[in-house]
Every structure is written in structure tokens, then in C-alpha cells.
């Protein structure tokens, strides 16, 4: 969205420390304040209303500026960075279309509680409200989808606002904060005492208190329930990961002996091959996890929000359970599910204190061997599985990737069948390893998120498991991978369809295809018709300068994945898979876990 010719970046003098100079520009002050917050990378697409800040960034020795190829790319790179590290991801776009292209990423961040700072250039204040070129009311547009937002009207407010923005984005339940910065503020100057006062300004947010703590009374009441529980289950969510509470969760689980099932947001918060793990539950989750929650007598919910994709029909969700719900966000209590023990607390504190109380008070583990016998039986009887095929099944490709990366990769995904299979057939053993758009469900998330994660964690292997529909939505970021030298891998499960919608068409709409075919409708490509595949991904990759291989024979798959993993640089592996696979198990929307479909029974194909 650049409106003015941009000069090639030249490395000139670094941004001076603000207090040491007599006069400083707003843009330089802004960048100095980002540095003060410890920002080491910003994903930013320039334009007329933000180029002043880009100019300042060329003078920063501490901040790496990464140029995406679309503003949505920079937003999701910031997501990937934030989800991989827990630190706020920072992205920036110009006013108008640059800013509106960030809106989806901001909505995604509020849904998945991702700490994010979204900076937008704004037209000069004299033009605000005049329908000026590239003017939009970003503050207004983003109001319902931000944790907080600022329109910065005075240069002297910059240091305080930047400090507040990072604090708000990263503390409590994290979320996105928008900073809208008019160009005249970027170009204004400040000096001397006014500058010193501005830099020294304290945060002023009297209405914000981010760290609630459970009382011992609340926790002891829960422990009483635990002591007499017959069919207990721990339901742990993304809060365990954002709250850095995985160790406390593990200790609590082992002290009580209760089975644990997580949400997709909570993947990696509890080791999936731990003997007490029932993997993850929800619409496409594990049968054992779903049934255990459904039949539980005591449900301990830690940092999760009873999302409809988890609960199905809410009236039939854990109908016999006494429910305890520990969450840092009070508005989650009773929002979807009315519970008996709502506890407003930081989950790390609450679990840590529970563990202390267990040890202090001589807590007696209840005998739940009948129950765990049952849940473990379900685990054995109903693992995630798929039927063998002469072709490469998408699940098989992910399983092979899991084996070849020893389960140590950071996985990002788009949205759809491949996303669910990634969660089913890649097991997660550590937090911040499964990065996916789960609340908003944004296709196109995978590639830019992988780039952001790889920048944050250069020593981890980062693989975007993607579908051909989702991948197309931000495919332009292949250029970023090359130009910024970010060696991410893409395992593309290419089935020539929008697979998840196709699956719903099969089950609910008698297989009528309504705009769900991505290839040639009359000459559909597939594992048996390689020449008809559309588009030609290897050619596209070649155009971007990205190494690529296409694989469609089962016997070639493992070597191809090995080659992708070992390749020194970005790599696209185009895996041609049949489109006829359904993600199973499946609890159709509005039904309960009792009505879970375990085996595929497709309709017309």
C-alpha cells in the first residue's frame, strides 16, 4: 500500500538515546520507546502514513524490520512470533487499506488471547474526518476486537502510551492493542525538559488490575471435591500455556492422579504421551477425552472458556459434573456454562497453591481406578486412526512428519481438515509448539505464522502443515521467506478441494459441491491424475525461488519429508492426497459427545 517512492534502506546513524539530545522527532521517539520495551523484531509494510517510522527503523540497531508481502502477512507473522515466545508480536501498516488489512489479524488475536501490538499510521490530524486519501477510522473499526486501543494525538504522550500498550497486551489475559499514530505526531519534535518529562511518565491505567489470585478458601473447596471425586477429569486450555503453568498442571495431575484432556489451544500444555493424558477433546477430538468429560462427576477447568467447538450442545455438556472453573478472566465464568466453583485467578498461582495445599493438608488421593480403567480402555479402543490406502493419506503424511522431526517441530496450520489432522497425528510435548488460528479460524494463517515463529525461534524446526485452500490465501509470503532468509518448511496437503466444507457437504448436504472444488472441475487432478493438478505449485515455488518437490507415491513420502527437513532454506513439499478422507471422530455442531461419529460414513462423493 505504499504511496510514495521508498528509498532503499541505508544504514545511517543509530537512533539517539532520547534524553541525550536536544530535539527528537516523534517517529524516532516512538522507535526508541519500542526498543525500551525490548522489541527485537517488527513485521511492517510501509506506506505514506507510516514511512516516517520506517525511516526511523532503518536507524535502529536493536530492531529487525521484516517486510511481508501483504499486511495480513505481517499481522500473522506477529502472531507466530507472539505464540512461539509469549512476548507481544509487533506489526505495523499504513493508514486506510494497510490498516484494514490488519483487522482480521487483530480479531484473531482477541479470540486466541495473543499478545500483539498493531501499529497503524494515520493521516495528519488536520485531515482526520475529511475523507482524506487513505484515511479510515481505525480506532473505531477495531473497537470491538481490541483489548485496548490508542489514537496518539500528542508527541509527549508517546512514551507513556507505548509503555501502557505493552503492559496491557502482555499481562492478564493477553490480547491485541492498537496504536494509531497520525503522521503529524510522527513528524513533530520534542526536546529538553518536555522530552525528559515525557520519557519519565508513569503508566496511568487505574481501571486495570491484571493479576487476580484465588483465595485458599476457594481452593480448599475444590480440593474437598477432588478428595471425594469418583469420575474426575481435568480440562485444560490455552490459559495453561499463556499462564506458563504447564509444570504446575503436571504436578497437580500427578498428585491427584486425575486424567487430563486439553483443548486445541491447550495442546502442549500437558504432554500427550503422559499416561494420564486423554489427548484433546472437542468436535474432532479424541473419543476418550470427549466421553470422559461427558461422563465426569467432577470437571476441573483450568484456563479454558467452554467454546462451542468444545462443548457441542451446552445443555448436554458434562451433564452430571460438578464444575470448577479457574480463569484469569472473570467474564468467562458462567458465560457459556454455569459452574459451581468459579475461581477468578491467575492459573499458575492457583495450581501452584493447590499443589502446596495438597502437600500441607495431607490430601488423600481418591480411589478412581474403576474410572481410569474405563478412560484408558477408551484410549486403547479409539485412538486417532485412518484407513490404509494405496495413496498417501493426509494423516499418514503428518504421522511421517512427526516421526521424522521426532515431535520437536513447531507446527503452524491453516484452517480446515489438515488443521485437525495436524493436531491428531502430530503429538505435542511442549507448550508453544502448535500455533493455529483456533478461535477465529482464519485460513491463510499457516505460512506467515510459521515465518514469525521461525524468526523468534531460529533453532527450532518450523513446519507449516497447510491445505491448498488455506495456503493460497497468503502464498505471497514465500517471497518474505526468501528475501528475509527465513527457512520455514511447508507440508502442503494438496487435495484440490476445500476439504472441511466438502466433508460437511458429504455428511449434511448429500455431497452437493457448492464452490468447494479448487482444481479443474471437469478435469480434476489427484494422486492418479498428476498432470491435471491445479495450480502448479512447483512452478509457483520456482517463481518465488523456493525449493519444492511434488510427491504422490507412498513409497516416496518419507524420503521427501526427510529432504524437506534437511534442506537448508525454505522448502515447499507438495503432497498430493485424495480428497475423499473425512476427519474423524466428528461431533456435528449442536450434538453431544454421546452422538460422536467415530468411523467415516461418507455420503455421495
Amino acid at each position: 500500500m505504499s504511496t510514495e517512492t521508498l528509498q532503499p534502506a541505508t544504514q545511517s546513524t543509530p537512533v539517539p538515546a532520547p534524553s541525550a539530545v536536544t530535539s527528537i522527532k516523534g517517529a524516532d521517539l516512538f522507535v526508541a520507546c519500542l526498543e525500551r520495551e525490548g522489541v527485537d523484531v517488527i513485521f511492517a509494510y510501509p506506506g505514506g502514513a507510516s514511512m516516517e517510522i520506517h525511516q526511523s527503523l532503518t536507524r535502529s540497531s536493536r530492531i529487525r524490520t521484516i517486510l511481508p508481502r501483504h499486511e495480513q502477512g505481517c499481522g500473522f507473522m506477529a502472531h507466530g512470533y507472539a505464540r512461539a515466545t509469549g512476548k507481544a508480536g509487533v506489526c505495523m501498516a499504513t493508514s486506510g487499506p494497510g490498516a484494514t488489512n490488519l483487522v482480521t489479524c487483530i480479531a484473531d488475536a482477541i479470540m486466541d488471547s495473543t499478545p500483539m501490538i498493531a501499529i497503524t499510521g494515520q493521516v495528519k490530524q488536520e485531515f482526520i474526518g475529511k475523507s482524506a486519501f487513505q484515511e479510515t477510522d481505525v480506532f473505531g473499526i477495531t473497537l470491538p476486537i481490541v483489548k485496548h486501543s490508542y489514537l496518539i494525538l500528542k508527541i509527549e504522550d508517546i512514551p507513556r502510551i507505548v509503555k501502557e500498550a505493552f503492559y496491557i497486551a502482555q499481562s492478564g489475559r493477553p490480547g491485541p492493542v492498537v496504536l494509531d499514530l497520525p503522521k503529524d505526531v510522527q513528524q513533530a519534535t520534542i526536546s529538553g525538559e518536555a522530552l525528559e518529562r515525557a520519557m519519565a511518565a508513569e503508566m496511568d491505567i487505574p481501571g486495570y488490575s491484571p493479576l487476580p489470585k484465588a483465595t485458599d478458601e476457594e481452593l480448599l473447596a475444590i480440593l474437598d471435591e477432588c478428595a471425594r471425586a469418583t469420575r474426575p477429569v481435568i480440562y485444560s486450555g490455552g490459559g495453561i500455556i499463556t499462564g506458563d503453568a504447564q509444570d504446575e498442571l503436571k504436578e497437580f495431575a500427578e498428585l491427584t492422579g486425575f486424567p487430563v484432556t486439553t483443548t486445541l489451544m491447550g495442546l502442549g500444555g500437558f504432554e500427550e504421551d503422559h499416561p494420564q493424558s486423554l489427548r484433546w477433546f472437542g468436535m474432532h477430538g479424541c473419543v476418550a477425552g470427549n466421553w470422559a468429560v461427558c461422563e465426569s462427576s467432577l470437571l476441573l477447568t483450568f484456563g479454558a472458556r467452554f467454546d462451542d467447538r468444545i462443548t457441542g450442545a451446552i445443555a448436554k455438556f458434562a451433564p452430571e459434573a460438578t464444575v470448577a472453573h479457574i480463569d484469569i478472566d472473570k467474564s468467562e465464568h458462567h458465560k457459556n456454562k454455569v459452574v459451581q466453583y468459579p475461581v477468578h485467578s491467575d492459573v499458575k498461582y492457583a495450581l501452584g497453591r493447590l499443589n502446596e495445599l495438597i502437600k500441607e493438608r495431607g490430601f488423600q488421593k481418591p480411589d478412581i481406578s474403576d474410572w481410569t480403567g474405563k478412560t484408558n480402555g477408551w484410549m486403547e479402543q479409539y485412538p486417532f486412526e485412518f484407513e490404509d490406502s494405496p495413496h498417501i493419506q493426509p494423516q499418514f503424511a503428518i504421522q511421517t512428519l512427526y516421526e521424522e522431526t521426532k515431535g520437536e517441530a513447531i507446527i503452524t496450520t491453516g484452517v480446515g481438515q489438515h488443521q485437525m489432522w495436524a493436531a491428531q497425528f502430530y503429538k505435542f510435548h511442549q507448550p508453544r509448539s502448535f500455533l493455529s488460528s483456533l478461535g477465529l479460524g482464519t485460513m491463510g494463517f499457516g505460512l506467515p505464522a510459521a515465518l514469525g515463529a521461525k524468526v523468534a525461534k531460529p533453532d527450532r524446526i518450523v513446519v507449516d502443515i497447510d491445505g491448498d485452500g488455506s495456503f493460497m490465501m497468503n502464498v505471497q509470503e514465500l517471497a518474505t521467506a526468501i528475501m528475509e532468509k527465513i527457512p520455514v518448511k511447508i507440508l502442503l496437503l494438496n487435495n484440490q478441494h476445500l476439504g472441511m466444507v466438502v466433508q460437511w457437504e458429504d455428511i449434511l448436504y448429500e455431497g452437493v459441491r457448492a464452490q468447494t472444488i479448487l482444481g479443474h472441475p471437469d478435469n480434476l487432478g489427484g494422486p492418479e491424475k498428476i498432470d491435471s493438478l491445479y495450480p502448479n505449485w512447483p512452478q509457483i515455488a520456482e517463481g518465488f525461488g523456493v525449493a519444492c518437490k511434488r510427491v504422490w507415491k507412498k513409497e516416496d513420502l518419507r524420503a521427501a519429508i526427510r529432504e524437506m527437513v534437511d534442506h537448508d532454506g525454505p522448502y515447499l513439499l507438495d503432497v498430493v492426497v485424495p480428497f475423499t478422507e473425512h476427519v474423524m471422530p466428528f461431533i456435528p455442531a449442536g450434538l453431544s459427545a454421546k452422538e460422536i461419529l467415530i468411523k467415516s460414513n461418507p455420503g455421495a462423493k
Binding site: 473497537l143 470491538p144 483489548k147 485496548h148 491505567i205 481501571g207 472473570k330 467474564s331 458462567h334 458465560k335
Partner: protein
């Protein structure tokens, strides 16, 4: 059921939009709304009356608490608060009718603050019942225009109406 919410907020631009958006985004209609700075100009008090079931409203209040600019939210229960509303009415009142209007105003302790050949402007302050009763009495004369502030309310420490 009708609820009266009292919300203490920072006196900054955009705060009212955030609060209003919290209601509109959940399909709540705000019946009355009153906003003004408090004795400390850093803060404003918003008094809003809304109708809705209690669980939905409970959710709204928690969401309001989540807004960074909001300091306090109270759902003022029946009898636990003093409330007043100010209304301005332009009423047709020529000739003989005017003295009748003046009499009604006296009874309600309303004031006539402007008068012309054909109409008068009346100011009345009171709680909801008083305002409703007054409007009922004055309606037959012909209300030409009306402006109301919406309810302003404060929690009381004792339950006696003065």
C-alpha cells in the same frame, strides 16, 4: 427486567463508544443514558438503564469491567439508589390553558423557564414515577417537543427516600 447501571470511567475520548459498543454488540438496547464528568474531571460517570435477562446482563457487566478505561460498574438494585431525571417540555399553552398548566406545574414543583404567545417550556426534575405522572397530566395540552437527560443515579447507604 429493567436495570440501572452506574459506570465510573476515565474521562477520555472513545470511552463512551467502547461502553455503548459493549451493549450494542450483544443486542442490548440502552433505554436511557447519562454521561458527565464527576467532581474529579479525570473521571466521568455513566448512568444507563437497560432491559435484559439477568444472566445476559451479568455478562455485560463483566465485559464492562474488562474495558481498560472502566474503573467501577454497579448494577443498582431496587431501592438501593437515589435517581433523578431532568426533562424539558415545550407545551402548547395559549390563553386560558396557560394558567391550568401553571397550576399543574406548581403541584409537581416544575418550573416554567420560557414563555411565548403559543407555548411554554417547562423544566421538571424527579424520579421516574414523578416524571411519568407529570407527563400524563400535561399530555392533553399538547406536547410539542421534549428533551430528557436520562436517569442519573447514585448508590445510597441507607434505604430512605428523601
Amino acid at each position: 427486567m429493567r436495570h440501572t447501571l452506574s459506570v465510573l470511567v476515565e474521562n477520555k475520548f472513545g470511552v463512551l463508544a467502547r461502553v455503548a459498543g459493549m451493549f450494542s454488540g450483544r443486542g442490548f438496547n440502552i433505554d436511557t443514558l447519562n454521561v458527565a464528568p464527576t467532581h474529579d474531571p479525570k473521571y466521568s460517570r455513566i448512568t444507563a438503564t437497560v432491559k435484559g435477562d439477568s444472566q445476559q446482563l451479568d455478562q455485560c457487566i463483566k465485559q464492562l469491567h474488562k474495558l481498560i478505561d472502566v474503573l467501577e460498574v454497579s448494577d443498582l438494585g431496587q431501592g438501593q439508589f437515589a435517581s433523578r431525571e431532568l426533562i424539558l417540555l415545550k407545551v402548547a399553552g395559549d390563553g386560558g390553558k396557560r394558567s391550568e398548566i401553571v397550576q399543574i406545574c406548581d403541584i409537581f414543583r416544575a418550573k416554567i423557564i420560557d414563555v411565548s404567545q403559543r407555548s411554554v417550556i417547562i423544566e421538571l426534575t424527579g424520579n421516574q414515577e414523578k416524571v411519568d405522572a407529570f407527563l400524563q397530566m400535561i399530555e392533553p395540552f399538547g406536547i410539542k417537543a421534549m428533551a430528557r437527560t436520562g436517569i442519573a443515579a447514585l448508590e445510597r447507604n441507607r434505604k430512605l427516600e428523601l
